[in-house]
Symmetry: C2
């Protein structure tokens, strides 16, 4: 059975991504980076998703990125902004951008792949209904793939790791529909940028998620403060 490392934040996209990897018959190693994001709610969601799938090999790596002072997700100096609900895939990069996050996360995933003799890295990057982050785009993933080919032992020995981003060209509604078809535990996931008991329903991430469920024709079973 081929092995794959799956980056799992505990959000909607990464949970559908792990469902895709499992349904493809791969032996999955879930990898969660605890990077000092504002709340631990997301980490709890990741653990619950891993438990749902009866996986016992969850790798959780602590990496304190709170030194990155410019992101609302790693610094207490910012409030998480409320979303506008429109033009979420525009060219302006929001304050929730964590510098180089996917470069760092894919790098750690690549190291774990090499260490575990896995062949694939799954990431829930999405270039359609996303928040404008540069490291969620196909150009980035292609460049990183090339980096793995020349910069890892596996690569120069002719067994390059491959990056799989099965959600890259899906809308949020597509992602919800795919997750539902695969039986992914969407009710356990957490997308809100804030860490309350209920999702806020106001930040970009909540707005994208709610719209995705609505357009897919499903109800989002998690609790919200407001449903816009």
């Amino acid at each position: 059975m081929k092995k794959a490392v799956v980056l799992l934040s505990g959000g909607l996209d990464s949970t559908v991504t792990i469902a895709v990897a499992i349904s493809a018959g791969l032996e999955v190693i879930p990898l969660t980076i605890n990077y000092g994001q504002r709340h631990m709610r997301e980490l709890r969601a990741a653990k619950e998703v891993v438990k749902f799938y009866n996986l016992e090999n969850h790798v959780i790596i602590d990496l304190d990125l709170t030194v990155f002072k410019t992101s609302a997700l790693t610094s207490p100096d910012f409030d998480v902004p409320e979303g506008t609900g429109d033009d979420l895939s525009g060219t302006m990069i929001p304050v929730t951008y964590v510098p180089s996050r996917n470069i760092i996360f894919l790098g750690i995933a690549a190291g774990l792949c090499e260490s575990e003799s896995a062949e694939k890295i799954f990431i829930g990057a999405n270039s359609i209904d996303y928040s404008g982050y540069p490291d969620c785009r196909p150009e980035f993933l292609e460049a990183f793939q090339k980096t793995l080919e020349v910069g890892t032992k596996a690569g120069i020995e002719g067994r390059p790791l491959s990056i799989e981003a099965p959600l890259l060209y899906l809308t949020k509604a597509d992602i919800v529909g795919l997750g539902k078809r695969l039986g992914a535990p969407l009710h356990l996931t957490w997308s809100c940028y804030k860490g309350g008991v209920k999702a806020c329903g106001r930040c970009d991430s909540c707005l994208l998620r709610l719209r995705g469920f609505r357009e897919a024709g499903y109800e989002d079973e998690i609790a919200y403060e407001v449903r816009s």
Copy 2:
């Protein structure tokens, strides 16, 4: 004054690299990743180098990579091998290879650059007298540079971060000579893969270092168990 993040392990190469960056008139932010390497001796050296240069902005980030079980530098399951003294730049990758280490470190450095509005990342990668690591080669650095251009906010806004590897094509003797000319505190650095009170004098890293000093015509002032 332009800013640069300098990856500083506390070894010979990264210390000469920070000397190069300082002598170029850059405002330097030293970045050390404490990644669970076998010993803290290297971290102490990094701190002493930073103190030597009177820098007060040393960023130390903890990242536990001991989950990478295949490297002698992160796993207690291996002994650090003794070097042979010849053919150190051959094609075989030694057990001291830490999977994807420079991808991860450069990713974190890139994030810090973006966060601090710095423009350059300095790394002491060397492709001549090195231990055969794939992530020390020019091909890797070029691919990573391309990744930064498309995968960071700075890159897509037309201010791509640049990776500077001033030692890339130098021999170890060249590096020693350059460090001496720049007044770098080579006596504070630590290269040995082991963490004893004295450097072992037997591992690949010690052998490379000792040969470099010998060929450059300088005495290595640190203490060794044996000097081969």
